[in-house]
């Protein structure tokens, strides 16, 4: 029986939804499922880890693990993978996962694949599917080792309703601190903001907003909907939005229920970050903008005119 170890996605003390999505997929392919949780003061998350569908919980809980550092983080995953005898080691889509997965693979001498969207098991043979070249093609990859470390692309797997697990906690010893890469400071993202990665609705703003007033206008729409607020590269480079708000091949990859692209033309790099969204709405002045080729609903118009109307109309239907 295959064994899947899932690295719990914990942000600011909260277990994120990807953990249940990954264990649902693990169960669907008939695997035994464990989770490894890494952080400081995380024992209170054990019930959530069980409810996310794991049957063993490896817990690395140590004050030294409060801030992310790829070396110690990877050591904890390797430790849990060895104890569990994992064939498949899955990270949810996150910067920590992207940083740690290649290290874990190198240490275990395992195969490594990032951004996978599907995995199949045929006996011991593992195959995965992933996008490449800015999502222009998909690759089917045959794994030649008996172990695969993978980062799962956002939105690739769905959580099974009513998934549950059993509590079987194994405590891991604290890893060695990486003395050669010392975290001096963490400049936290503004608190209270909705996380783009797991927002149900994402509103993104692009060059069409022109300036700060335009950005603020679109932000009000995001606030109305309690949506994550993102941007295309142009607005990051223009200094209107923080780097961590960039949606695209190089920034955040999102797959919300509703994605609103406001004043975004739809460069290939941006599309690669959002074309997994369930429903896409685009507002753009240019009827030929490539964003309309992927949008389910397109409004050709000036966002300065359209956004206020959009807010009013949405308020009406939600009332």
């Amino acid at each position: 029986m295959a064994k899947v170890l899932i690295v719990a996605d914990i942000k600011q003390g909260v277990l994120k939804g990807s953990t249940a999505e990954l264990s649902s997929k693990a169960k669907a392919i008939g695997a035994e499922t464990a989770v490894v949780a890494i952080g400081s003061n995380i024992e209170s998350l054990i019930p959530d880890l069980v409810n996310a569908g794991s049957d063993t919980q490896y817990i690395a809980d140590d004050p030294s693990l409060e801030l992310f550092s790829a070396g110690p983080y990877a050591s904890c995953v390797v430790d849990a993978a060895k104890q569990f005898g994992a064939n498949l080691i899955w990270f949810g889509f996150s910067e920590s996962g992207k940083a740690a997965a290649p290290r874990v693979a190198a240490q275990l001498d395992a195969a490594c694949a990032t951004e996978i969207t599907d995995v199949t098991l045929d006996g011991d043979q593992i195959e995965v599917v992933r996008p490449a070249i800015a999502n222009k093609v998909m690759q089917r990859i045959k794994v030649n080792t008996d172990q695969l470390v993978a980062v799962v692309r956002a939105g690739a797997f769905e959580a099974t309703e009513g998934i549950t697990g059993t509590e079987n906690v194994v405590k891991l010893s604290a890893p060695e601190t990486d003395l050669k890469a010392v975290i001096k400071e963490l400049i936290s993202d503004a608190s209270g903001e909705i996380d783009l990665a797991d927002a149900d609705v994402v509103v993104s703003v692009g060059r069409g907003a022109k300036d700060q007033a335009g950005v603020d206008l679109v932000k009000e729409l995001a606030n109305d909907l309690q949506a994550g607020f993102g941007a295309s590269r142009a607005m990051i480079d223009g200094g209107f939005m923080a780097h961590n708000k960039q949606v695209g091949q190089t920034g955040k990859i999102v797959a919300p229920t509703l994605y609103m692209a406001i004043g975004i033309s739809g460069a290939i790099q941006h599309l690669a970050g959002m074309n997994g969204s369930k429903v896409i709405l685009a507002v753009n002045k240019d009827p030929e903008a490539p964003i309309f080729n992927v949008a389910d609903y397109g409004i050709v118009g000036d966002l300065f005119e359209v956004v206020p109307i959009l807010r009013e109309e949405i308020k009406k239907v939600r009332a």
Binding site: A70, C112, M138, N144, A295, G298, V306
Partner: protein, 260 residues
């Protein structure tokens, strides 16, 4: 400080791509320098300009890489190495990392700067694996690098919880995000000088290794098929009176797509 920068030749992602019989149709494709590697080159050149540093680039695979290496020379890189070998055609990230390990060990570098991923695979593994194989510290997704002292650099990394400020002991590997800088356009003088510069070309034997030694004959994974991406169909596009069409679309979002 000796800086090694990696540069990969990749397919131009702006062009249309077609898949036939499980392979990408080569016809009509063009090759360019990986965009993130261009950021790595710019970061190296800036470090050279602001500190005492020697800059070398290495490009692995890709056939004739003269154009992209000359472009990096024109941007300010001083030395160029091209490792090419027909055996590398099917190589994975781990093999590339092991080739870079050999280059590193031959050159006594203090800092390796790579793009955070290559735009042909979007894997983001090679730089991080290189650091693992070398046993040196590594920070990925870096948006700023400054020299702290002779033994250390200070980098900013975009992490999940915010911007992490990390002090790294040299030698080290960093992989950079495109947010780190805006690569300069080569100037005429640089372009002319670049034409005269030599490129050191080596195959795996000249590097003191073989495909087998690098793990190439026992690849951990291999691409067995390319498939067309599921493309989204263009949906309904509305033009006309803003108030009218916006109300219409919100109605569809609520009643047809059922998102409200």
């Amino acid at each position: 400080m000796k800086i090694l920068t990696t540069v990969k030749k990749v397919v131009d992602v702006e062009l249309n791509m077609h898949v036939k019989d499980g392979a990408i149709v080569e016809d009509g494709l063009q090759y360019v320098i990986n965009a993130w590697d261009e950021n790595a080159v710019e970061a190296s050149v800036q470090l050279k300009e602001n500190n005492k540093a020697e800059t070398t680039l290495v490009s692995v695979g890709g056939g004739d890489n003269t154009d992209i290496i000359r472009k990096c020379y024109a941007m300010g890189i001083e030395n160029g190495i091209h490792i090419d070998d027909p055996a590398l055609d099917k190589a994975d990230s781990s093999v590339f990392a092991k080739v870079l390990q050999k280059v590193y060990e031959n050159g006594a570098y203090d800092l390796v700067i790579t793009g955070k991923q290559a735009q042909d695979t979007d894997s983001g593994q090679t730089g991080i694996m290189l650091a693992e194989y070398l046993g040196v510290p590594c920070v990925s997704n870096v948006i700023a690098i400054e020299v702290a002292d002779e033994q250390h650099i200070k980098v900013s990394r975009l992490g999940d919880a915010g911007t992490e400020i990390v002090e790294l002991e040299l030698p080290a590997v960093v992989t950079v995000s495109d947010s780190i800088n805006e690569p300069r356009l080569p100037q005429m003088r640089g372009i002319m000088m670049a034409k005269k510069k030599k490129i050191k070309k080596m195959d795996l034997a000249a590097l003191g290794t073989s495909y087998d030694d690098l793990g190439g004959t026992g690849l951990k994974s291999e691409v067995i098929e390319f498939m067309a991406s599921k493309t989204r169909e263009a949906g309904q596009k509305f033009e006309g009176d803003p108030a009218e069409i916006t109300a219409q679309v919100v109605g569809l979002l609520a009643n047809e797509a059922k998102v409200f």
